[in-house]
Symmetry: C2
Subunit: 237 residues, 2 copies
């Protein structure tokens, strides 16, 4: 398809599509003449992915590019930058398992961005030790957890040992499920895409489902009646 | 304490403290002379809460005020505005249970803000029906779920029936736990604070714990060895 059709199919303005091309976020079309390039379904899907990462997962475009680079060039320049720079998973001395490093770098590409946060992270380290997980204090998510635990303390609902264990057990079971469904076909690239995008894109799904679960439990506990038969709203069972 | 000590204790600039006072987000101090007011620990805590909601939960200050109004004046002006305006839980015909409405309004005060989204929300409605929850299509979280499900589709990892049931079961169990720990003392205000702030402030905790769980499961599955004895990093068991 021509670039004009790509614009129409995706609803993304021409100037934006050209920007994605210049930034290398969208691969060039196939040149069919000196003035025309041909685009395909892969371009439509890639634009959808860029919008999902930026508009829903909330990544700035520079971070979207980091994530795309992780998928496009596993172990390549982006991965190296991640290891040397501040944004990615640092060199932990663990074997370079590729997938594991990419996951760490994907997490570092997700908000909130706390590059200035320096260890120690006493609340987060105590919490992770209590639930017996493997971690490295240089993981971006450790700083993220520290800040989140500070915030619940400031809000007057500090994390308790009991709540930590309840939450961690359920979230770990969800993570086990996620890893168990990692695609076996498609090779390393498909696995990387699954791990990286699954972490980035499912955060908002989890947040929305959690809010709906709170409302559902509250409705049932606090006396909201089941909807009358045939009612349009509220819906449910 | 004087306002200068409040500034020192909280690390929030004087101009910002004065802004919070003007906006009614921080109650006035007790006037002890024509030119001096006295502030207390409640003011320190309230400033900590404002920072937690804005800096960590990511609420714009106008939304922080909405949440504070919910806690300060349950059933008051804020609740009415929420019902009449676009931001809160709409009138569902359910009994006004207070807590339930406040929870809905708190969710509407959390990002992402999708006021322009209009039903139908086909993906979200099908998903919520599949897991058998009570809902109303006008809940803010329904629009949030629709958008999040669109994004995972665009990213090439669409929600499956199986994943939906796994996620929903664990998140519902976490919600049941949360409601079971609602404070019994302190009356309606304490309960409202717990429900509203628990929803708003624990989202980032859940996101960070989920990312750490992914990294832990990946490390164990993908061959990252347990840390050598006595090693400083990586840590864990």
């Amino acid at each position: 398809m021509r670039i004009s059709e790509l614009v129409e199919r995706t609803g993304v303005p021409l100037a934006t599509v050209k920007f994605y091309l210049r930034q290398g976020m969208l691969p060039p079309g196939e040149a069919v003449s000196a003035t025309r390039a041909e685009y395909g379904e892969a371009h439509v899907r890639r634009i959808g992915l860029i919008r999902a990462l930026s508009d829903v997962a909330g990544l700035p475009l520079g971070r979207v590019k980091d994530v795309l680079d992780l998928i496009d060039e596993p172990g390549g320049e982006a991965a190296d930058q991640g290891q040397d720079g501040g944004g990615g998973l640092p060199d932990t001395g663990l074997p370079d398992t590729g997938l594991f490093d990419a996951l760490g770098q994907a997490v570092a590409a997700l908000p909130p961005y706390l590059e200035d946060a320096q260890p120690p992270f006493p609340r987060a380290e105590a919490a992770i030790a209590a639930i017996g997980q493997v971690y490295d204090e240089r993981y971006a998510a450790v700083a993220q957890l520290e800040r989140a635990l500070e915030a619940v303390e400031a809000g007057g609902i500090p994390m308790t040992e009991e709540r930590l264990h309840v939450y961690a057990a359920h979230l770990r079971a969800m993570a086990e499920y996620d890893l168990s469904r990692m695609p076996e076909d498609g090779g390393r690239e498909a696995q990387l895409g699954y791990a990286v995008l699954g972490t980035a894109l499912y955060d908002p799904v989890v947040a929305a489902l959690r809010r709906l679960a709170h409302q559902d439990v509250a409705a049932r506990r606090l006396g909201a009646p089941p909807p009358p038969a045939g009612a349009e709203t509220p819906k449910g069972t």
